[in-house]
């Protein structure tokens, strides 16, 4: 009886150990998302790109390289951050984010494709694991002029309008004011004369 119980406990503990060991020892697996954090995509204005890496594996990912070649140099300039970076280690169950700001120099439809990631799935791994991030997809980059027409405060336009309308308001007002002061002065004189006569 005792021997069977001990055997059962031993088998169960071995199975649990195997399971734990498998979970802990499973190689690093990175889930990578690429997000565009913009309300509008406008030519010559900032586009914020955020890469989030989450390690769902049981081991730390080593020598992780994020590389994004999806922004051609003739259509985009990098305003802040780097499109190719490296991080030494991403521990299991943790996430890491990286942000870059680019500016499109051209407008039109653009396909925001994925970034490529390379990493070592374990400390002793000899080969690099290749991965790709999620794809934000197609987006229309608006012409700066169109955006400006819609969203700018149009201060210059309104000041030009004010300057143009000013003569038609100011000239009649000055004429009215001069005649008003003139007639008021005459009326005052008349009043004073009447008071003296009486």
């Amino acid at each position: 009886m005792w021997t069977s119980k001990v055997l059962l406990v031993a088998v169960l503990s071995y199975l649990t150990y195997c399971k734990c060991n498998e979970e802990e020892g499973s190689p690093a697996r990175l889930l990578v998302s690429k997000h565009i954090l913009n309300k509008y995509l406008v030519q010559d204005m900032d586009i914020v790109i955020k890469y989030t890496l989450y390690n769902v594996g049981g081991m730390a990912a080593q020598e992780v390289v994020i590389m994004d070649d999806s922004f051609p140099a003739d259509s985009f300039i990098t305003a802040g951050g780097q499109l190719s970076v490296k991080i030494d280690r991403i521990p299991p169950g943790s996430n890491v984010s990286h942000t870059v700001v680019v500016r499109p120099t051209k407008f039109g439809l653009f396909n925001f494709s994925s970034a490529s990631i390379q990493y070592k799935a374990s400390e002793n791994a000899e080969e690099m694991q290749n991965a790709i991030s999620s794809e934000p997809g197609e987006g229309r980059i608006i012409n700066f002029r169109d955006y400006d027409k819609k969203f700018s405060p149009h201060v210059l336009d309104w000041s030009a309008f004010a300057i143009m309308t000013m003569p038609s308001i100011i000239i009649p007002f000055i004429l009215f004011w001069s005649s008003k002061t003139k007639y008021e002065a005459i009326a005052k004189q008349k009043k004073e004369k009447n008071i003296k006569d009486s």
Binding site: L37, N38, K39, Y40, L41, V42, M45, D46, I47, V48, K50, I66, A79, G80, G81, Q82, S84, V85, K86, I87, D88, R89, I90, V96, S97, H98, T99, V100, V101, Y147, F151, P153, H154, V155, D157, W158, F161, A162, I169, F173, F176, K180
Partner: protein, 168 residues
Amino acid sequence: MWYLIFLLNCLNIPFLHALLCKDPEVVTSSYTTQDGMVVAEIAFISEFSLHCSNKVTGLTLYGELDGHILPIMKVDGKTKYQISWTEEIKKAHSGDYIINIFDEEGYSNIRKAIRSGEDTKSVTPLITLTLSYSGAYLGPWVNSEFLAAILLISAWYVAFVHKSKLLS
């Protein structure tokens, strides 16, 4: 592995000390999104070059901002690094953001401090970066068309008052 490093450190092996950055000098360039009209979140990016007097390069660094640990990316694998994060427009406050940069030893100390609820200021950082953010432009205070309408109504009111005075 860690036991070995600890042992070597205790034995005062010189190669380990070579991994520590002495007299760090830092050159920073930072970027924050200024236009809140087009972006959904504000990006804070700080790129810096770290030079040590003992010529140590390729260090693994970690950043700490308001009690949160931020990873630091290596740009060229030698002296250039990047730290970046995003914040919602409403939550991002204007002013200076102080980022403490730690090496691996400092990182383990700061993690201990955060875990035990101690003051993070007790851990001395390798370097400190300051990222200033002047706030994002969220559109004009008053719409131009609204201002123009107000001016026109006031001009009409002045004219109307004078006219009614004359007629009475």
